[in-house]
């Protein structure tokens, strides 16, 4: 079961890689695979048991898979030190502004839709 789901995931990634080389050089292969899989699931209308088992098992270990590439930061210590304050400043400030803004915007839009829905019914 798990292996069948895993095979599908690998196949989607490989199709994505092929498309990346043929037409879509600006999109990474796994991303194309992800979009293809969403489209496939929407067309099918359900997630098969083997696919959901493989996806959830793989995603449970996602943080572990991310450790080796993150360790690569040791090679760039000098670059971080050179741009330390711009990095910290823009990461912190942009989050502090964007996060409440997104919440506020979403709340406004939900309220507007609720009001419109109300007038439609009356």
């Amino acid at each position: 079961m798990l292996l069948r789901g895993l095979t599908w995931l690998v196949l989607f990634q490989l199709v994505g890689t092929a498309l990346n080389h043929l037409f879509l050089t600006m999109l990474p292969g796994p991303i194309i695979g992800l979009v293809l899989l969403i489209v496939y699931l929407m067309v099918r209308g359900e997630v098969s048991e083997s696919l959901s088992l493989a996806a959830s098992s793989l995603l449970r270990y996602l943080p572990l898979l991310l450790v080796p590439p993150a360790v690569g930061v040791m090679v760039y210590a000098a670059d971080i030190a050179a741009d330390f304050w711009p990095i910290v400043g823009s990461l912190v400030l942009s989050l502090m502004i964007a996060l409440p803004f997104v919440g506020w915007l979403m709340q406004k839009l939900i309220q507007r839709q609720a009001r419109r829905g109300g007038t439609h019914e009356s």
């Binding site: 995931l9 690998v10 989607f12 990634q13 600006m26 999109l27 990474p28 796994p30 695979g33 992800l34 979009v35 899989l37 969403i38 699931l41 929407m42 696919l51 959901s52 996806a55 959830s56 793989l58 995603l59 270990y61 943080p63 572990l64 898979l65 991310l66 450790v67 080796p68 590439p69 993150a70 360790v71 690569g72 930061v73 040791m74 090679v75 670059d79 741009d83 304050w85 711009p86 990095i87 400043g89 823009s90 990461l91 942009s94 989050l95 502090m96 964007a98 996060l99 409440p100 997104v102 919440g103 506020w104 915007l105 979403m106 709340q107 839009l109 939900i110 309220q111 507007r112 839709q113």
Partner: protein
């Protein structure tokens, strides 16, 4: 006869399994600590990364060798990225009636979150490579790393910027939202997931189930939108 301690030590630290061993060991140790304390600074990836770097430096093993021995883990990152489609699809089905508010917020909020960071970085004088690495900081790490590499940034740094963003969002997010008088659980979830990805989503899940569902949805939508449009935007701008 003296046993060859030095030779045995070198054989162990240069064995192809050494990288896997320290990665698995560090990760499980940090995970156990995190589950005990629930301390938001103990993000498994970030702290495991620091532990592994310390071990590598102490043993005198360089990154290239470590990377080669952990190839097997990195190869699985591709299918794991594809697997993100499954939770996204399941979440999409849950929010039919709020489709337009969600979609509009994703579009405007995504541009603001990404644009503001690049603009601030540029104003503060960061160099191009760092800017391109910071641009995808609001999305989940596997996507951010792929996108950063694609647009001329560095995958390893992107993973770290993503984690910093997530941790700041988790610490200050709920307070900032309350200050901005955002009470709707769907809106709070959307804000946490869109700007602070998986770490924000875990905080949103603690608030309520609706809040968590919207955070998970916002995180995956923002990830896919960034992956599709950020490389396009950059290639048009340059």
């Amino acid at each position: 006869m003296n046993p060859d301690w030095q030779g045995a030590w070198l054989a162990v630290i240069h064995h192809p399994l050494f990288g896997i061993a320290i990665t698995l060991g560090a990760y499980q140790l940090i995970l156990a600590c995190y589950e005990k304390t629930r301390w938001v600074f103990l993000q498994p990836v970030l702290v495991s990364m620091l532990v592994v770097i310390c071990i590598l430096v102490a043993c005198g093993v360089d990154y290239v060798e470590y990377r080669k021995s952990t190839d097997i883990l990195s190869i699985l990152l591709g299918p794991a990225t594809v697997a993100l489609a499954v939770p996204l699809y399941l979440n999409l089905r849950r929010i039919r009636q709020l489709f337009w508010p969600t979609f509009t917020t994703l579009l405007i909020g995504g541009v603001v979150a990404t644009g503001l960071c690049v603009l601030l970085g540029w104003l503060l004088g960061a160099e191009h490579m760092i800017l391109m690495t910071m641009a995808p900081k609001s999305v989940t790490s596997p996507i951010a790393m792929l996108v950063a590499e694609q647009i001329g940034g560095v995958a390893a740094l992107a993973a770290v910027f993503v984690l910093i963003t997530g941790v700041i969002g988790a610490i200050f997010g709920p307070g900032l939202l309350t200050l901005a008088r955002v009470e709707n659980p769907a809106a709070r979830g959307m804000a946490l997931g869109l700007t602070a990805h998986a770490v924000g989503t875990s905080v949103a899940l603690q608030e309520s189930e609706e809040c968590g569902a919207f955070a998970a949805l916002a995180m995956s939508l923002m990830g896919v939108a960034t992956a599709l449009f950020l490389p396009l935007a950059v290639s048009l701008a340059v």
